[in-house]
Amino acid sequence: MDNMILTIITFLPVLGVLAILLIPKEQVVSIRHTTLFFTLVTFVASLCLIFRFDPVATGMQFEVNIPWIEQFGIGYHLGIDSISLLLILLTTFLTAIATLSTFKAVEHSHRGFYISILLLETGMLGVFAALDLFMFYVFWEIMLVPMYFLIGIWGGTRRIYAAIKFVLFTMIGSLLMLVAILVIYFQYHGLNGEFTTDLIKLTGMPLARDMQMWLFAAFGLAFIIKVPMWPFHTWLPDAHVEAPTAGSVILAGVLLKMGVYGFLRFCLPMFPIATFEFIPIISILAVIGIIYGALVAMVQKDIKSLVAFSSVSHMGFIMLGMMTLNLQGMQGSILQMINHGISTGALFLLVGMIYERRHTRMISEYGGLASQMPVYSTFFMIVLLSSIGVPGTNGFVGEFLILLGAWKFNAVYAILAATGVVFAACYMLWMYQRVFYGKVTNPANQTLTDMSLREKIVLVPLIILIFWIGVYPKPLLNLLEPSVKAVMAQVEVGRAEYNAYHGIVESVASEIELSDAENVKPEGTE
């Protein structure tokens, strides 16, 4: 059972696709319910993972490793550690929520829409579960297709432009990644006389510094585009603005996390020396992204693109946290991925709700909604507070840990990043003021109805998570700790060589992670 469960979870949505194909396309309601059913079953199945997951063990769990294309050493290799476990949970959770949110939003080609959603889910789950580079690449690419359709068919007025931009941007990155995968493949063959794409085998392979640099750059570009980091972010606002609500939720909630996940799972462990070389560049880009995203968000006129730019800013935080390579920063970074998925997902859901009512997202079209839709505005306020990281909500915990880690790593970055928090308060509160406060001036807003029961059901789970992680994040952090330490140990390998290359003599054992040094055992040194 344990080695089947990941396969089952990953391909359950495909089963859902088959089921939907059996339903005549006129029966819209049953298509919706079938989709919801399958996303919920997937979610429940992924919850089972938590209970069977061994929180203290290091290494991958629920592994399944069957040779697939033996001639080329490609295996069907799935497995998760606690990082991917949480991301899988986030994926199944958000997909279910997003599906529920679409019941009124989709206006045509229902069957295609729901098939796309389910296929997308399989793609995302596969990316998080794959432990084989080839499989990872396949899932990574497969995912593009349904997303392309979601934006291109069910999107807004400039949907074609946005969809093509999204796909092309991602493709450029992934082609480089493909080349890099092939290079690693042959390198491994050269060293060990065996062809393999198995991540576990490839990790820890001794690669020369220059080779690592090139490979890191190729992988890194693919991931940076996906994150997206400045200056590769411009596909994001377009994609978000044009995508249908469910698409935006999944895009912001899960797809962006894949870039960060890629760094954690591939770049850092496989190319530790290059990691140290690239830290300055990536963290500077991250800090630029934080401030730039926040400032640009301030002047947006469209709520969705405001949220999209706030994502650029938040993703900068996440990348900065990861690049600190210390326990606080990295834990905060992973926690913040979950948080961002929840709060930004919720923001897109909320924007989608008024869009369904008014068919506009322009801030200037609104005003005074707080008196018209009190429940809605309360929900919005809570989510907004989580997004700007007010204590008691999830955003605060993540941001604080990231800043703490960043401070240990480089105080200037930490201070700059911290100003991003103030800007976040500025643009969010200003937007809130313009949309919700004041008197209702636009007659079109006078007939707005407050949230329906279904909409409340969509949001309440997210709100509960916001407070739960905000008040008591300890279980999640404890769960993450072994996996994060494992990644840290794998990266630590590169430090000696990096120092040797640059002639750095360290008087202290390591400048990073003084206090936790005793906890980190060099496990990944084999």
Binding site: K165, L168, F169, P231, H233, T234, W235, Y292, L295, V296, M298, V299, Q300, L327, Q328, Q331, G368, A370, S371, L385, V390, P391, G392, F396, V397, F400, L401, L403, L404, W407, K408, A414, I415, A418, T419, V421, V422, A425, C426, L429, W430, Q433, F436, Y437, G438, K439, V471, Y472, P473, K474, L477, N478, E481, S515, D516, N519
Partner: protein, 645 residues
């Protein structure tokens, strides 16, 4: 034992969703009783620390451990009483004041949430927890300032308050991180133990001290982050009394008091604190001299008094600062509630439109008078004792002494200017005067209760009487024993009386023309009236450039970054077009050329098509040979490659 009391406080005030004001008030009254009980416990134990900690770990990351817990020390117990008392009065008062508001229950929910956060702040056992509640009170303050969000000025003020204090909080947050990195813990006792042991260099302590003080600057609205407090007066008046006069703004003072160890250890940080406090108290008092909005005068007076407290703490006089914090809370809450009662009656904030109200509002006017006396520091009211201690604390710092005394004089003047203009003389707006009426009992009883406190609260600090104060305001084991400073007492009383006298002559007897004074000191008057143009300065120097920069970045993003992407796309498209042309005209041309060729050739060859089988066979065989040749040559090549490997 008081653990139970906390449970009551925390539990009840968390009932923020309560739909009835009574639940909220009932909770706060229970909390009030509990905090009095705690105080009695402390006093009866001779001021020994009563520690109640419920350590509850929320984050453990390697060596990094965050715990939640509560602790009561005497200062916290004093703050508990202040918070619960004022909060109870304000909530009872609000029943009358907010009567008929469509969001009545939401208002009480916010108030309860605020009280809960404030109590949490007071009881926190470490700097991290205090920060969490610190942000929460900021949030509830935002919600309550912008409570009447239909008014743009109100929602603007809320936003301004939130963002301005957030800037201060940024400093606080950095201070917390430094504290963690350099000291390794957030817990009060552990931090202080490390600091006192001298294990950390002084410059680090200075840094941490100043960073923490940044938080206090934001929250207690000290210069240069004071700009939000006057605007915050857009909120309902009871809220101003509770949050922006008595409790939340005092949180900054409380924080500095809690972090006193840092300032004792680092004179540099302490002097920074003292100077900012001094400047704020003078600066705000000077603005208060000329304002015409009753609530703004009070707001600037709050600023000034907070500056006083901060200054006393900066001079490391723990007792004076915290003592004034307590007395000020009572009489300032009273002033605000009195002002609220007036506004309720005449529906305006402008004191130029009031006058003579004492005849109609005896209770309000009387209590207001008491409060004015108290804040001016007249014997034997509360302000007298605490203000004396502050001025006495400046002994040895001539500049501080002179300015602090001057501020005492200014305070007396502007408070009585306010009083005379509002309550005495002829009504300046007859219509408003005619409509004026005394407020309902729910509003006047809290006033009377607070007035009693404004009279008596200072008595705990009467020199020579070994009262509660020796425990409550003690710092670091040194009992706080108030000394009689006869000289200071006399000077400050004289100054206060002079201030009152001047106000009396200008605004009651009108023997000195206020307008003439304003004419004569035109420049100063305009400077003070426009609040030193600080708001305008910020707008020009900070907000506009920031906004413009954001707009610039956005156009940069749309035109340059995205432009490059689109340019790339355009180039690709153009290249594709070129290729298409090549394809159409050259490649296809060749193909078509072939076609044409064959076309013409075939018509030529038609002649060969004889219809005879033998000819065809010949052609087929010929073709097969050709293909065979090609194939073998390929095979040959391929074999070569294999062999080569």
């Amino acid at each position: 034992m008081p653990l139970l009391a906390f449970a009551v406080i925390i539990f009840f005030t968390r009932w923020k969703e309560s739909l009835s004001s009574y639940i909220s008030i009932g909770a706060i009254v229970l909390g009030w009783l509990a905090s009095i009980w705690i105080m009695i416990e402390i006093v009866s134990h001779g001021g020994h620390f009563v520690n109640v900690e419920r350590a509850f770990s929320i984050v453990t990351l390697g060596a990094f451990n965050l715990q939640l817990g509560f602790v009561v020390d005497p200062v916290a117990a004093m703050m508990l009483i202040v918070v619960t008392t004022v909060s109870a009065c304000v909530q009872i008062y609000s029943i009358g004041y907010m009567h008929g508001d469509p969001r009545f229950s939401r208002y009480f929910a916010y108030l309860s949430l605020f009280t809960f956060s404030m109590l949490g702040l007071v009881l926190a056992n470490n700097f991290f927890l205090i920060f969490i509640f610190w942000e929460l009170v900021g949030l509830t303050s935002y919600l309550l300032i912008g409570f009447w969000f239909e008014k743009k000025s109100a929602s603007d003020a809320g936003k301004k308050a939130f963002i301005t204090t957030k800037i201060g909080d940024l400093g606080f947050l950095l201070g917390l991180m430094l504290m963690y990195l350099w000291i390794g813990t957030f817990d009060y006792d552990e931090v202080f133990a490390v600091v006192n042991s001298g294990a950390v260099e002084t410059w680090k302590l200075t840094f941490i001290g100043i960073c923490i003080f940044c938080g206090a600057v934001g929250k207690s609205a000290q210069f240069p982050l004071h700009v939000w407090l006057p605007d915050a007066m857009e909120g309902p008046t009871p809220v101003s009394a509770l949050i922006h006069a008595a409790t939340m703004v005092a949180a900054g003072v409380y924080l500095v008091a809690k972090a006193m160890t840092f300032y004792v250890a680092s004179p540099t940080a302490a002097m920074t604190v003292a100077w900012i406090g001094l400047w704020t108290s003078f600066f705000a008092a000077s603005i208060a001299l000329v304002q015409n909005d009753i609530k703004r005068v009070l707001a600037f007076s709050t600023l000034s008094q907070l500056g006083y407290m901060i200054m006393a703490l900066g001079l490391t006089n723990f007792g004076a600062g915290t003592f004034h914090l307590m007395t000020h809370a009572f009489f300032k809450a009273l002033l605000f509630l009195g002002a609220g009662s007036v506004i309720h009656a005449v529906h305006t904030n402008d004191i130029n439109l009031m006058g003579g109200l004492l005849k109609k509002m005896k209770k309000t006017g009387g209590t207001f008078f008491v409060a004015c006396l108290a804040i001016a520091g007249i014997f034997p009211l509360a302000g007298f004792w605490s203000k004396d201690e502050i001025i006495a604390a400046t002994a040895g710092h001539p500049v501080f002494m002179v300015v602090a005394s001057l501020v005492a004089f200014m305070t007396a003047f502007y408070m009585f200017r306010l009083f005379f203009k509002t309550f005495t003389g002829e009504p300046r707006d007859q219509e408003k005067y005619d409509h004026a009426h005394e407020s309902p009992n729910t509003m006047t009883y809290p006033l009377i209760f607070l007035a009693t406190l404004a009279v008596c609260a200072g008595w705990v600090g009467i020199p020579g009487i070994k009262g509660y104060s020796s425990y409550i305001f003690a710092y670091g084991g040194h009992a706080h024993i108030p000394h009689a400073h006869w000289d200071v007492m006399i000077i400050s009383t004289v100054l206060a009386l002079m201030g009152i006298g001047l106000a009396y002559m200008m605004y009651y007897k009108k023997s000195i023309s206020a307008d003439a004074m304003a004419e004569r000191f035109g420049f100063l008057y305009r400077l003070f009236y426009n609040k030193y143009y600080i708001d305008e300065l910020y707008d020009v120097v900070l907000i506009q450039p920031c906004y413009k920069f954001a707009r610039f970045l956005w156009s940069f993003d749309a035109n340059v970054v995205d432009g490059l992407v689109n340019l790339q796309a355009t180039i690709t498209m153009w290249l594709s077009d070129v290729k298409y042309w090549i394809d159409q005209n050259i490649v296809d041309g060749i193909v078509n050329g072939f076609g044409l060729f064959f076309d013409s050739a075939s018509s030529a060859l038609r002649k060969i098509q004889s219809g005879r089988l033998a000819h065809y066979l010949l052609a087929v065989v010929f073709g097969l040979i050709l293909i065979g040749l090609l194939a073998t040559s390929n095979l040959f090549n391929w074999t070569l490659i294999r062999v080569g490997q």
